[in-house]
């Protein structure tokens, strides 16, 4: 199908975009268009105005400083995956990238668009949660910082208020002792995940786990930290048995959806496997990838 009629503007500044959003109540932001255009073509959305943010240079800026990595909201998937400095600054980005869509979608799709769209099976929101990222949101009244944990609120729902724009994502500096792992299962390479896990593990000099982040995605309405499983690892020297235990803790009590791609039962069975594999890869413990 074809997109319904709408009026279009491509402002050159963030202020210009905010003014347009303020002036047109049902305006929508157009970033990479890789989720919004399908929605328009399928007539699932019919905004009266599209505010195209692709002409705002500031939104494509990348900066890497001792404080961490800052990605403008319009940084494309392909740039994240092919720029080794970005994946070097936050290794989880590099691990997740190959799972996101296909070349021509990565050319246009943006990290800010993925976060704002908030598909529960999307990779970037899970990576942001596991990396303690902070979203910089700007509105008519100024800017505010929203931690990843408070940003994704549910299926296609975020903390972005009408009239606001996501302008950048900040990742704190990655400690040298931090390991990362990422695993997902999808119908085909590049499809949305049925279930996946993004993890980080901080190791002390003696190999003890000092901190951990375990995030499940595709298993509920938004990516979620599994704190009991994280706590199980803290203070321990991780081995295969401990990882298996943490993985089953991580999947306990989840209430995944059933849809065309997978049943809730399947997702419940696979979730701990994804956590186990992500942890095993993070810690270079290949034997822990196996069930027993």
């Amino acid at each position: 199908m074809k997109a319904p009629p709408f009026a279009y503007a491509a402002p050159a500044s963030i202020e210009g975009a905010l003014a347009l959003l303020a002036a047109h109540e049902d305006a929508k932001v157009l970033a990479g268009g890789q989720s919004l255009m399908p929605a328009l073509n399928l007539r699932l959305a019919a905004p009266s105005v599209l505010v195209d943010i692709n002409a705002i240079p500031e939104l494509s800026e990348v900066s890497i400083t001792p404080a961490g990595l800052r990605l403008g909201a319009l940084v494309r998937h392909s740039r994240i995956g092919t720029n080794s400095a970005i994946a070097g600054a936050v290794p989880l980005l590099g691990l997740a990238y190959p799972h996101i869509a296909h070349g021509p979608v990565r050319t246009r799709g943006t990290i800010g668009g993925s976060l704002a769209h908030a598909d529960p099976s999307a990779e970037w929101p899970a990576v942001c949660l596991a990396s303690d990222a902070v979203m910089e949101v700007r509105g008519p009244g100024g800017g505010r910082d929203v931690p990843a944990e408070e940003f994704s609120l549910g299926i296609f729902t975020t903390a972005i208020e009408p009239g606001e724009l996501l302008v950048a994502i900040r990742f704190p500096a990655w400690p040298a002792s931090r390991r990362a792992g990422f695993a997902e299962v999808a119908r085909r390479d590049g499809d949305f995940a049925m279930v996946g896990a993004a993890v980080t593990v901080d190791l002390g000099a003696d190999g003890t786990c000092t901190d951990a982040r375990i995030v499940l995605f595709g298993a509920s309405s938004r990516p979620v930290r599994r704190r009991e499983a994280e706590a199980r690892l803290r203070g321990q020297v991780p081995g295969a048995a401990l990882l298996r235990e943490a993985a089953s803790l991580a999947a306990q009590g989840i209430d995944p959806p059933s849809d065309l791609h997978a049943s809730a039962e399947y997702r419940r069975r696979v979730a701990p496997v994804m956590v186990r594999r992500a942890l095993a890869d993070a810690l270079s413990l290949p034997e822990a990838r196996l069930a027993s």
């Binding site: 074809k2 503007a9 073509n41 505010v51 869509a101 296909h102 070349g103 021509p104 085909r188």
Partner: protein, 161 residues
């Protein structure tokens, strides 16, 4: 700045400068097919899944069904028609598709060619695995993909020799 439902755009398509007044909602794919009569760009799904509409935007593969024509303003677009060498005939990749019977009904072929052209431009000697990965977003309901991968590998080997 006032949003408008119709805009003037100037862009380059297959090396020629094109200027038109277009509705904002017109997709790049429909602009190419209906306004410029470049019907080699096919539309299968119109939501980004099948890959038949893949064209190059400044050399990078994109879905023409997921871009607005107005977003191509000032950019350079290459369609399957634009692959034809100056003197006519086929590119080595197109010739390899013919040799390997990588075309049956031909619906997916323009998208396959554009995606593979972009792959070979960035990576002149890919592994079979890299070819499969690059083409994983292009659906073919006829060939079973084997001949398509062979054709791309053959074109790559030919370019090296």
């Amino acid at each position: 700045m006032t949003p408008t439902e119709s805009l003037s755009i100037t862009l380059s398509v297959n090396g020629a400068t094109v200027a038109r007044e277009v509705p904002a909602r017109l997709s790049l794919a429909d602009f190419l097919r209906e306004e410029l009569r470049l019907t080699g760009t096919h539309l299968g799904c119109e939501h980004g899944v099948c890959g038949a509409c893949t064209v190059l935007l400044d050399g990078e593969p994109v879905r023409a069904c997921l871009m607005l024509a107005v977003q191509a303003r000032g950019h350079s677009v290459t369609t399957v028609e634009g692959l034809t060498p100056a003197g006519g005939g086929l590119t080595p990749l197109q010739a390899a598709f013919q040799r390997h019977h990588a075309v049956q009904c031909g619906f997916c072929t323009p998208g396959m060619l554009m995606t593979a052209t972009a792959l070979l431009a960035g990576n002149p000697s890919p592994s079979a695995e890299q070819v499969r990965d690059a083409l994983s977003g292009n659906i073919c309901r006829c060939t079973g993909y084997v001949q398509i991968v062979e054709a791309v590998m053959d074109a790559a080997a030919g370019a090296e020799a």
